[in-house]
Symmetry: C2
């Protein structure tokens, strides 16, 4: 019996899902109301933000960057795992290099905050400082791709943290990750105030957890000494280590730096003076993140933690210090929550950027439409779909996703910094030479890092990004061209071009003499006098019968009949219209009137011919005729 | 690099499949022409059949029954497999019982042929002899379910035969089976002459193969004696054997009897005298099938063949006699082809029966529509979809599908035989007492067999059929009631009810002043004078701007504006229509005219608002208004 259940569970779930989707499509309003909540008025959008103190804004805006601590160092060490214990000490120099890059990036971003107090993302900076659109599009595409990866990586890493504590869920990581994304999507479709103070607490909790962990590590080391039997020897050159491998490990570790741009996009959220407070937050965040990375990496080295795909390094270290009790649970769950928050924050960033780019005409305009709850719902849905696809393809393995990650960020960093360099060169005020130098150095280093990523990770997955990016840029340019062309085509001169009346022939399609035809003919004759009826029969007897019935009905209008030898309605109709266009040369518009049953229950449609729908779709695409549907609502 | 390929292969295939489906939907005509071929005229349907000699018709019509030899005995033994070698001798009595049932069934079917010379399936017999529709519907539903199972079982068994010879394909059995079904579907959508003589050859080849196999077995036994070390002892009662288990094994073995009804449905195909020739064919087919079953089972026993899920018993036996050379290959491939032919013949039976039932108003009428190539294409597609679903759910394991099988056949046998009993009782001519006795005995035995199936296989899957059957009958009755009610509702008295003109208000939805609006207004004013324009704006500035532009355009008609605070078009439009219905009480029809962009390339639609479509769908379902779409075909 259980085997039967198991066999049928999956298909039954699929069937339920299909029914749910169909129901949702048909009763869209109700389902949406339940899931998404009541629609909101446009003017509710401009309700005043509460401006935040910098040390409150800091945790709110730092989930994205700080949460990367949970997977960055581990991603670096995964690259070196096959070299065994002798390579473990490399975590120290690699982390140190990562932290140096962090400092440089924060310095460059502080320059950005100075230049664009209203929050200038890489796209805005590039748009402002490059004449041609491709620079801004490069930055935007790179960021959009990386937003998708942020969701995929953060959610996978979060689920992996939990499955380290509860190995029983390990086989379901993919499903659980996609479920998480759906929940985040729903929450965001309902609308979340991005800067709600509640979001500060999980990040603060995670920061405290990490501080406790690092402190516990030092206590442990003071009590048991700074070397252990497990501590790998320092400075030995493991066999098989190559420069390429070091660069790969470094670039993976740099995934810990993603999310650094969040504060610069949110400068207006800070209390006055915006810029000063944002800079303070940047410095504090840099210090905290740097210290965490260094301390965490140091303890990982001392205890000689190895990479274990079923148990994250963070979980291993916490287990060593605290066992698997309450403290361990707090660390695991705060890691999970902060990673989910990082994914969540992306559900604000991606749709906003997409709407910005779409507003400039480079992406489909549907991305600029605000949903019922005022969020850019289409962008959110696209983000959730793409991230779910990535998770499905990569089976929610964080370390398989990392190689795709970070290229985009560093590429957009580079574009933004070059933009700032151009700006300082143009502006030449204040300490412009210093700023220019910082950004030039930043540009050089981020460009090299992006290059290193692209080369070293090419075969591991980076090629995907390098294929997708130019594609995305090309599509954006094509979209823009299309919109410009359409705009030209639709423009009219209102003083000279006015509506004019033309001769119209209205063809009513009739299938017999019954109530629906009666209803349709009544309408047709009410609006227009030049009405003819067309009957398409499949054989001679049915045509003769129709003619007789029409006459018995007193011939309400002229009836044409056509025999369809192929039992298709479209071909004879098309030929009839063509003939009409030629014979009745004076008809500028041909107008086809189609009666349509509307059954009382939507699923009754399966019992009725859908030819009205098919004819309409086909005519609309293939003929320049006006189509009217006259519904007849069945009562039974 | 290979790992990357493997990771992406599946998703890339899915993407290609999606693109193919979208392309096919959009360019349906072309794709259909390539796959299905040119449409055929209705009159081509009645081209004369070539009437067949009985010994030519025999192999053509016997693929379904005879091919079951390939899985019937094996299905029986699978039930006893866990009892080990001591149970192997039971194949002899079980096969003997199966053959006795075969003889009885053939006798009853000969009675059926006598009564219904034009080919009477169980549905026709039941319809003719029961006043209430449920008896005929029981027969029809049972047969439809079993047709689906025939396809699933035959195709799975065919693929299993091939994978016995080529174990490398074993992991792909499900995919290959579904692929086979798709190919059969395509071939049938193109249209195959059911009684084409070419179909005789594979069955003849398979019959000869089986004859050679059985002959080789006897030669082998004459040379090496009728007992071997492997021959299981005869008549020992294996531990764990129960009556229930014997009944289960017997009912599984009876799956070898499915397809017996084919000849009785095809009596008119035979040369004159139809009935006599059909009866000859029935007797010959019974003799051949019975002999094959007995001989095959006997050799299986002598060589002590065990059930092996990776190697069919037929393949094992052929391997023992002939090695894996040419003869073995001929046996395997002729088995495969004849099983595929059995599935193929179902693609004629299922759609014809479904069309018959639908023609009586018990199933959706779409099933009676002939496709381009004159076959009932909708029925074929439904059959292929259901069979593929079953194969997917049961991972193409023949032995997992067998418990669902055969109940339906025996149930419909029972209904048909009771029907014939009623008929003989009514008619009372000729040897009616003998005929009545044969059919009464047949009814009793097939009823008991069906009951045994239902009880013994209940937990193995038979419950599915026992749930589906009443559901199907209930749905059929509901469908019938729906059609009757609709017919009543639509009927009018042509002498008194004539079209009448009413007052109509036409609302043109405008989104600005541009070429599409110009085009739409021109049409609206051409057909009708009572035209008003409606603009739905999301904020006050846009509404003011629209008013100004309308005035600058010389106000072609009265413009109403509505502000949508929720950025939705549907709600304000619905409210406006409601207000109009109340204010302009004299308007019997409200007529909404919607301008619609038609881009040059279908995929450009993604760049444009689909609100025209949404509005139309929503209005059609929820409001009693007439909807006109005025297409504007973009040139760019």
């Amino acid at each position: 019996m259980l085997a039967v259940l198991e066999r049928w569970l999956h298909p039954i779930l699929i069937v339920i899902a299909i029914i749910a989707v169909v129901y949702a499509l048909v009763n869209f309003g109700t389902v949406k109301r339940i899931l998404i909540g009541r629609p909101m008025r446009t003017r509710e959008l401009h309700a005043q933000h509460n401006k935040l103190l910098w040390f409150i804004a800091l945790p709110i805006l730092s989930a994205d960057l700080y949460s990367s601590v949970a997977y960055g160092p581990e991603a670096g060490m995964t690259e070196l795992a096959h070299l065994g214990a002798p390579a473990k000490w490399l975590i120290l120099p690699i982390t140190a290099a990562t932290v140096m890059l962090l400092v440089l990036l924060i310095a460059s971003y502080i320059m950005g905050v100075m230049a664009y107090p209203n929050g200038g993302g890489a796209y805005a900076i590039a748009k402002d400082n490059f004449r041609r659109p491709w620079a801004a599009l490069t930055a935007a595409s790179a960021l959009l791709v990386d937003y998708v990866l942020t969701v995929a990586v953060s959610v996978s890493a979060g689920i992996q943290a939990v499955s380290s504590a509860y190995p029983a869920i390990a086989p379901y990581e993919t499903t659980l990750s996609i479920l998480c994304i759906l929940v985040i999507l729903l929450v965001n479709l309902r609308g979340v105030a991005e800067s709600a103070t509640v979001f500060a607490w999980p990040t603060i909790l995670f920061m405290i957890s990490m501080a406790v962990l690092i402190f516990a590590g030092f206590v442990d080391e003071v009590r048991h000494g700074f070397t252990r039997p497990a501590t790998p020897p320092l400075g030995t050159w493991p066999q098989g280590l190559t420069t390429l491998l070091i660069l790969k490990a470094f670039s993976s570790a740099c995934s810990a730096l993603t999310g650094i741009e969040t504060i610069s996009n949110a400068v207006p959220v800070f209390r006055e003076p915006h810029q000063k407070n944002a800079i303070k937050a940047y410095i504090a965040l840099g210090a905290i993140t740097g210290a965490t990375l260094l301390g965490f990496a140091f303890h990982l080295y001392i205890r000689g933690i190895s990479v274990d795909p079923n148990n994250t390094m963070l979980s291993q270290l916490a287990g060593l210090y605290f066992g698997h009790g309450a403290v361990y649970q707090v660390i695991i769950w705060s890691t999970f929550i902060v990673l989910i928050l990082a994914a969540n924050s992306t559900f604000t960033g991606f749709p906003q950027l997409a709407a910005l780019v779409a507003g400039d005409g480079f992406l489909p305009r549907a991305l600029t439409v605000r949903g019922d709850r005022l969020g850019y719902s289409n962008g959110m849905i696209v983000l959730a779909a793409l991230a779910s696809l990535l998770i499905e393809v990569f089976h929610a393995e964080t370390n398989a996703l990392i190689p795709l990650y970070a290229i985009g960020v560093f590429l957009s960093f580079t574009v933004a910094q070059i933009g700032l360099v151009r700006r300082w060169w143009k502006v030449r005020e204040g300490f412009w030479r210093v700023k220019l130098a910082v950004n030039a150095a930043g540009a050089a280093i981020t460009a090299s890092v992006a290059m290193v990523f692209a080369v070293t990770k090419f075969t591991d997955g980076a090629w995907i990004v390098l294929v997708v990016l130019p594609l995305l840029i090309g599509v954006s340019l094509a979209v823009h061209r299309h919109y410009l062309e359409i705009g030209d085509e639709l423009r009219i001169d209102p003083t000279t071009m006015r509506p004019q009346t033309h001769a119209v022939v209205s063809i009513v399609l009739v299938s017999g003499v019954h109530r629906v035809v009666l209803h349709t003919l009544s309408f047709a004759q009410s609006i227009h006098s030049n009405v003819i009826a067309l009957y398409i029969g499949f054989d001679d007897p049915s045509i003769e019968q129709m003619k007789a019935r029409w006459e018995a009905w007193g011939s309400p209008c002229k009836l044409y009949t056509v025999k369809s030898e192929y039992r298709s309605l479209l071909r004879p109709l098309a030929l009839f219209i063509q003939a009409l266009e030629q014979i009745e040369g004076r008809a500028d518009h041909i107008h086809v009137i189609i009666p349509q049953f509307i059954p009382r229950k939507w699923w009754h449609n399966i019992l009725h011919n859908q030819s009205a729908l098919l004819i309409r779709l086909w005519l609309l695409r293939n003929k320049d005729v006006v189509i009217t549907t006259v519904p007849y609502h069945l009562h039974k």
